[in-house]
């Protein structure tokens, strides 16, 4: 899922986004609560109508941003109070409120309000966050009254296997239509994240869609898919795009580099995105050097297309029965590194 924080995947129009092959996108409850506010979106008929995107939308619960972006927050069993960075007012986010906002936003998938501890955190801190997350999940379920919207639970537990195991069991027992592994991509070493995925994934109900939150690089996606993960979200394609860095197969190219100045070939001659079909590296280099908005848009379009193509190649490999051979383990000489 490309990330459309403020009801826009940064720099990319809905038409352009459709062209990348993107299906579901993610929007951020915390940001939309601050601007424009969920009532405006609800009055527009929900996020789909508001932003002109007719495919699925997942909203996070705002919890991750409240904990990571708001330094002046106060947390207790009721919820979290934080200072609105726009006007200094105090906002309280509770499980009930997070669900209310997401119901108003009208996303297809709402996420439970969880407490995501930072990394590193002590075992006691993580255990408390887990207990709160589980109590809050019950309150989210009780508050959720929108049948055409799925509610996903979130597993916490940090890097402590017994806490992860307990959280996986408790969240699974809610029998929700989907389940997420949270508390990853918060600063932990990559192999710790892989260990969490390897440990937790087999504990989850096999038939449920499984979502690994905040992950979106090739290697991590391939390893996670090998362990049964289905859904990802990541800001990397558009964040890199805005910095003029292109994702080309599994490399990152800084398009400001003078070596691209006279390179009149496309970024990737095997890519059929709008950018690669119509524009050369020399043109992208020129736009980025000139600080032209179009450069950021075109590189973002390519980067999203690149991730979508990789995702679809994994899907196809699973169908063709060659995923384990081609994509996992994602080693330097995996065939998929060169052939997808």
């Amino acid at each position: 899922m490309p990330v459309g924080t403020l009801a826009t995947v940064k720099g990319v129009s809905p038409n352009q986004l459709r062209g990348t092959g993107a299906e579901m996108i993610l929007a951020n409850t915390y940001h939309l609560l601050l601007q424009p506010g969920e009532r405006v979106v609800e009055d527009a008929g929900g996020l789909h109508d508001f932003m002109g995107w007719d495919k699925p939308i997942l909203t996070d619960s705002g919890g991750f941003q409240v904990f990571s972006l708001s330094k002046l927050n106060r947390i207790n069993d009721e919820g979290v109070s934080f200072r609105n960075p726009r006007d200094g007012s105090t906002i309280q986010l509770t499980p009930e409120r997070a669900i209310e906002i997401q119901m108003a936003l009208g996303s297809d998938i709402a996420m439970a309000f969880d407490q995501c501890p930072p990394y590193p955190a002590t075992e006691l801190e993580v255990e408390e966050a887990c207990n709160r997350t589980h109590a809050w999940l019950q309150r989210c379920v009780d508050a959720h009254k929108k049948k055409q919207q799925a509610l996903f639970g979130i597993i916490q537990g940090g890097c402590f296997p017994h806490l992860r195991e307990k959280s996986a069991r408790i969240v699974s027992d809610f029998n929700l239509p989907g389940i997420a592994i949270g508390g990853v991509s918060v600063g932990e070493p990559l192999d710790q994240m892989h260990n969490i995925v390897r440990q937790v994934s087999p504990l989850l109900p096999e038939h449920l869609p499984k979502y690994l939150m905040g992950i979106g690089t090739f290697r991590e996606m391939a390893i996670a898919v090998a362990n049964g993960i289905d859904l990802f979200d990541c800001v990397i394609p558009t964040r890199l795009g805005r910095h003029g860095t292109a994702l080309v197969r599994n490399e990152r190219w800084n398009l400001r580099n003078a070596s691209f100045r006279t390179d009149h070939t496309s970024l990737d001659q095997t890519c059929v995105c709008e950018t690669c079909l119509n524009h050369s590296k020399a043109y992208l280099h020129h736009l980025i050097r000139s600080e032209e908005l179009l450069g950021l848009t075109l590189v973002s379009i390519h980067n999203i297309s690149n991730l979508m193509r990789f995702s679809k190649a994994m899907t196809q490999a699973i169908r063709d029965g060659c995923f384990s051979e081609d994509f996992a383990p994602w080693e330097k000489d995996s065939p998929a590194r060169h052939t997808w």
Copy 2:
């Protein structure tokens, strides 16, 4: 012609630009000379291939920018020397060099290198600029060797009717495939500009396309078309777009205004541009308030579409024999103000 200074109409992709109904666009020789340099564009196969635009492109000669942007320029009969703002080096632009660059850029229409005096300027200054412009036009014609590229001459003369008349006669006598009125939109009062158009236009060969440089507001276009002008260029649609101001029929709306926050209708319900078909004023307001790039893009798309629609409505009115009644004079109660 929307303006694509650096081989991009700011914030708008070629696909989006096609959707606005735009035909010919303008690119700036001065800017492209500095970045990326005409050799890069030539190596790409010319501007059309470089920027991915297969419809006509007109390039200006760089003269206007050299005189208006470069404070440290030295002008003599040979040409103009100015300091490269990027690296401090000295660049000389002459009629021969301006044509050479435009031939390398491969535009469909090249403009002669002229001297455009500022406003106000004394009669003597304007007369000298005229004489130089005419001598330079001969050198441009001699230097121009690209048959599939049209060269247009430029009339100068400031606000002095006898100098305008002389310039119109001299430039017309070159029998070029098109002719432009320059030295307007340089700070003179609007009614002076109208007087110039009214005076000069009847002096020009009737069969030639006539281009009024740097003009692009409804009233000025309508008055100019009534006097026989065919071509315009203007940065207004994209410059206003980047500031979050929408051109709606003949008004300008600042979309930051709180009154748009909950307005879920499109900018103009009679407009069929990508922006109006898919997005509300509330969404545009939200994007612009959030400083999202997509806001600038969507407003620019609408603004260009608005100008193109107005231009096409004038063309249709001429064909239908009702232009004089509907569009000219462009008075408060002209039918076209409400019906185009």
